[in-house]
Symmetry: C2
Subunit: 216 residues, 2 copies
């Protein structure tokens, strides 16, 4: 029974890694759509999100089948619940990518991000993409040290978020209210993607060690 449980659990984690790859594509494409003012690419991110939603449903069904058929005890039970939480967070990261893509689509043929905010928002996007990619590696390798690096990257994200606010609230902000609102919301979406990436990695740490990192 134990082996059957762990084989099925591995299959659930393989699916989580696949979904994390889909989320990575969504974040990368949404960012490209944003900076290239590419309405077609934005549209593809928005329409591809349904695939992430369906993949989430499959993982949930498999995890529930696992609970039902194997009736795992306390420790293993928490692992399955952690997997259910991870898939919810991955789905949410996909939704946030859609929000980025929708801002890109709304402003085409113009770029939503004005020159004055370009460097910081571009860095936020890069940090978020790197964190999603790293979260996928953590799911695949169950590497607890890599999860700790992800938490460090989140501090970079927090710093960039503060920089972004400083920029758009500075006296010399020239790009107007609409661009400021777009930049504030984009910053919020990338920050949330990063938060979820950390949370996913922390859940992998829990699966491996039986404890959440102290910083959660």
């Amino acid at each position: 029974m134990r082996n059957a449980f762990h084989d099925q659990l591995d299959a659930v984690f393989d699916d989580l890694a696949t979904i994390c790859g889909q989320v990575e594509t969504a974040v990368t494409d949404a960012t490209a759509a944003l900076f290239d003012a590419d309405a077609d690419k934005a549209e593809r991110v928005i329409s591809a999100d349904v695939e992430i939603d369906h993949a989430r449903e499959r993982v949930e069904d498999n995890a529930l089948a696992l609970l039902s058929l194997q009736a795992p005890v306390a420790g293993d039970l928490r692992v399955v619940v952690a997997a259910l939480r991870m898939v919810s967070e991955l789905e949410r990261m996909g939704d946030l990518s859609v929000h980025v893509a929708k801002i890109a689509r709304l402003r085409t043929p113009n770029r939503a991000v004005p020159d004055q905010a370009h460097a910081t928002i571009s860095q936020m996007a890069q940090v978020a993409e790197a964190m999603v990619r790293r979260a996928g590696e953590v799911i695949r390798t169950r590497d607890v040290d890599a999860a700790a690096e992800l938490r460090a990257s989140d501090e970079d994200m927090d710093r960039l978020r503060r920089t972004s606010f400083t920029e758009l609230l500075a006296q010399d902000w020239q790009a107007g209210v609409e661009a400021a609102v777009d930049v504030a919301l984009l910053g919020r979406y990338y920050e949330r993607i990063a938060d979820h990436a950390v949370s996913v990695a922390n859940r992998v740490v829990f699966v491996v060690t039986g404890e959440y990192p102290a910083t959660v």
Copy 2:
């Protein structure tokens, strides 16, 4: 065994209703802090959030104990998983109230919301509060019709969100970039509180009927 399961499940739902009450207080107090520019009240919302977090942990422990001791089969299993999701959403609604309180605190002794945005943001806050209160009633009464009303309120929220964007992007917006950013983020937070309230109510519908409403 079936009765023991359902008694324990009722206890989990009683706890969920209590947490929803704490969230309602958080939303109401955060809104009061915002419109009265009351730093002390904002501080209390921020520091009280740890109680919601602890309550979430208790519900999770009880739900996992239920899974472990009663080993429910497919249908009941999904009900317990729905309860776990609900408590995560309630915790998140508490976090969003904290975000509102932090904007209130940041701008005191001034009010974060300028006169030009007051009516719409105030309505968003009222709709969000009413939706949280209604979600609590849905948890307590398991009233499927009340859950449908909640979904209708969410359409009011979407309409208010669009009105808010129209206001702050209008040519006659006089309150500047900082206020626009605050209003955009506050709108986002209230909108997300409302989304979660709908989701909590939809999960109650699932618990009662075995199916999620078609609009989810």
